[in-house]
């Protein structure tokens, strides 16, 4: 019986609980956090412009690649031929070592 009464007293110990005091500066802190969030939103808007610029550069790069691939086939062929000519590789004489096959 004594034990049960003691348990009841323990359970009832929080019945008349006075509320713990709050800090008036919490409001300021929350308002500061909201302000920081709004500043972050502005940064996001600026980032959109960064992405737009990046997309423009990417488009220019793609156009460059496409135009290069259209002309690359021809020019590379010409370049190889000119280099071969310069070094005399176009003269097939060097490769016929057996005089009878001339």
């Amino acid at each position: 019986m004594k034990k049960e009464q003691w348990v009841d007293a323990v359970i009832d110990s929080t019945r008349q609980l006075a509320p713990a005091g709050t800090n008036p500066f919490w409001v300021v802190r929350v308002q500061q956090k909201i302000k920081q969030q709004q500043e972050t939103i502005h940064t996001v808007i600026a980032a959109k412009w960064v992405y737009t610029a990046a997309a423009c550069f990417a488009a220019l790069l793609i156009l460059n690649i496409l135009s290069f691939s259209n002309t690359a086939g021809k020019s590379s062929k010409n370049n190889i031929q000119s280099v071969m000519q310069q070094y005399g590789f176009m003269q097939t004489d060097y490769y016929f070592l057996d005089p009878s096959t001339r």
Binding site: T14, Q16, L17, V30
Partner: protein, 181 residues
């Protein structure tokens, strides 16, 4: 159905009205002053950011309690997980185990003559499952009705009754261990 229209300038008055209850609920649940302060600020920040999600089907204070309780439960579960990982190492080191890291907590609003008993109650509360502890504290310290608790915990009224019944039963068993003849 009334919607919440909260502006940053109105936040001061809004917080003054509700922060006491939210802080006390968080303090009772977490048994940690610093965490309770952080949770209280987070609750009002969330309330401001997610005010469109308030449909007006419950009261504003119930809605704020719901945000706070969810945040507290997240913290308590994280602590429990961390302790589960630490338990084998603590056991090897011969340390005593407690369900959460908080020890010897007493709510600052408790009258001096009840402090010793309240400390035992708070220790015993740590041994309750989180949902039982939440229901018990919302009912016995925050004095919310069954309907309000059911709205906060997003469950039915019979489920709240059952939670409270089991909480009281388990609490009595835990407290009995502290009894000295």
């Amino acid at each position: 159905m009334s919607k919440l229209q909260l502006k940053a300038a109105d936040l001061g008055a809004f917080m003054q009205e509700h922060q006491g209850r939210i802080y006390n609920a968080a303090l009772n649940l977490l048994q940690n002053q610093q965490e309770a302060e952080e949770i209280t600020q987070d609750v009002f920040l969330d309330a401001y950011n997610k005010q469109q999600s308030f449909k007006g089907d419950a009261s504003i204070s119930t809605w704020l309690y719901r945000i706070a309780v969810n945040k507290c439960i997240d913290i308590l579960r994280k602590k429990q997980r961390r302790l589960q990982w630490q338990q084998p190492f603590k056991w090897m080191a011969g340390e005593t185990l407690l369900p959460t890291a908080a020890t010897d907590f007493v709510h600052p609003g408790i009258v001096a003559e009840n402090k010793e008993k309240a400390a035992i109650l708070y220790k015993a509360l740590l041994h309750l499952p989180v949902n039982q502890r939440t229901a018990y504290l919302l009912h016995d310290t925050e004095h919310l009705s069954y309907k309000e608790i059911s709205e906060v915990l997003e469950t039915s009224i019979p489920a709240v009754e059952s939670l409270l019944f089991r909480a009281r039963q388990n609490l009595r068993k835990s407290i009995e261990h502290y009894y000295k003849d």
